[in-house]
Symmetry: none
Subunit: 226 residues, 2 copies
Amino acid sequence: MQPSVLVVEDEQAQREILAYNLAAEGFRVIEAADGTEALLLIEEETLDLILLDWMLPGTSGIEVCRQIKAKPAFRTIPVIMISARSEEVDKVRGLETGADDYIVKPYSVIELLARVKAQLRRSRPGSVGVRLVYEEIVLDAETHKVFRGRNELKLGPTEFRLLTTFMEKPGRVWSREQLLDRVWGRDIYIDTRTVDVHIGRLRKVLGHHGEVDLIRTVRGAGYALG
Amino acid sequence: MQPSVLVVEDEQAQREILAYNLAAEGFRVIEAADGTEALLLIEEETLDLILLDWMLPGTSGIEVCRQIKAKPAFRTIPVIMISARSEEVDKVRGLETGADDYIVKPYSVIELLARVKAQLRRSRPGSVGVRLVYEEIVLDAETHKVFRGRNELKLGPTEFRLLTTFMEKPGRVWSREQLLDRVWGRDIYIDTRTVDVHIGRLRKVLGHHGEVDLIRTVRGAGYALG
DNA sequence: CACCTTTGTTACATTTATGTCATGAAATCT
DNA sequence: AGATTTCATGACATAAATGTAACAAAGGTG
């Protein structure tokens, strides 16, 4: 569950520094050198946060921010503006671009990362508080509790996410690759066979009281619930 | 009957955060971006409380407050002022604007909601709950006293707010980040592991007489009550 | 000022979860 | 059937997450 951060900065050196530090902190970093590229990437990628330089060639940072905030689909993505001088902060604020935070050059990497994390913390209130039901299995995302009939099941984090995925679309067949992407996270290199092991573990817990196996193995394709 | 709260704040992001949290708590939220708009809405809407930012473009928050308090028809509506720095509190107080309470940024959501409820309780007795109960634990928000069965527990401020958060939604799993936001306050950068320590402290007090541990650790996710 | 409380961080111990591998079973193909 | 591929599962070393004691800084109180 690596958050994706888009870095929009025209100066290559600056951009690389940002990218390096963010990557070191475990973020997936996507880079854009100007506003046009940024706006394209916003559509294509699934972003969790945008770091936006105030000064950009062509479409200015402010304009990019305004356009992002104008689209309902992307309005909720936090935008942190980076401006060159402290005096400009007031201008930016005054212009009401809708940025979620501002940071002024020169900034410390620590400060930047802290703000990035603060924004992510705020915008990701965890998975949606839903209750998934399939046959006699009930999964409550808010309390993280899982029941089969009357029995509460004790699942490890990975098995919990695995089951959540299955229950979001009962019957759908997921390939091992898809499950790795969704349950483990993208850009992670893990043997696809590992999925088998976790499926086994999930089966063990689900059938702990001798119930029928609800997970279906689809030979050559993957697994499905029911 | 849902109490109506008017939020007067020029920064859209801030305003939305306030609106979101108040709405989540069951309030009807009305928003205004400046003093003029606020004064209009006060006439039009039937308000139960006003949250007023000190810094506003045009008519300042102080001026808005003064005008509200000058009209006999609206004088009884509680006004909570929000100011950016603690030093300003004194100014605000000194100016005797007639505000009913003050809150300083950065504030925790818990604190804000507590104050809102406290004001509403004063003006509309009986409309806001003050006492949280979960199993044999009783938390009285007004007196700040906590009991487990017959024993009164002595909690530090942080542990008290932690427990309050948990008791508002028993069973719900809170991530460390969410707890930091809610219990410690936004715009504060603290190591997430610190949450663990405070959970430990809270557990110690709650189980001081050898009772079962009511706080559940959810690996990879956070903590929950029950 | 001395004293006490609260707080955040750190370091280390402990628990729990994870990924890989080896082996054998089951399905599929020739 | 025999060969081949695909899957299930127990074991195990490692990694990751959590619990907790100790400590120092900050703040409050008398």
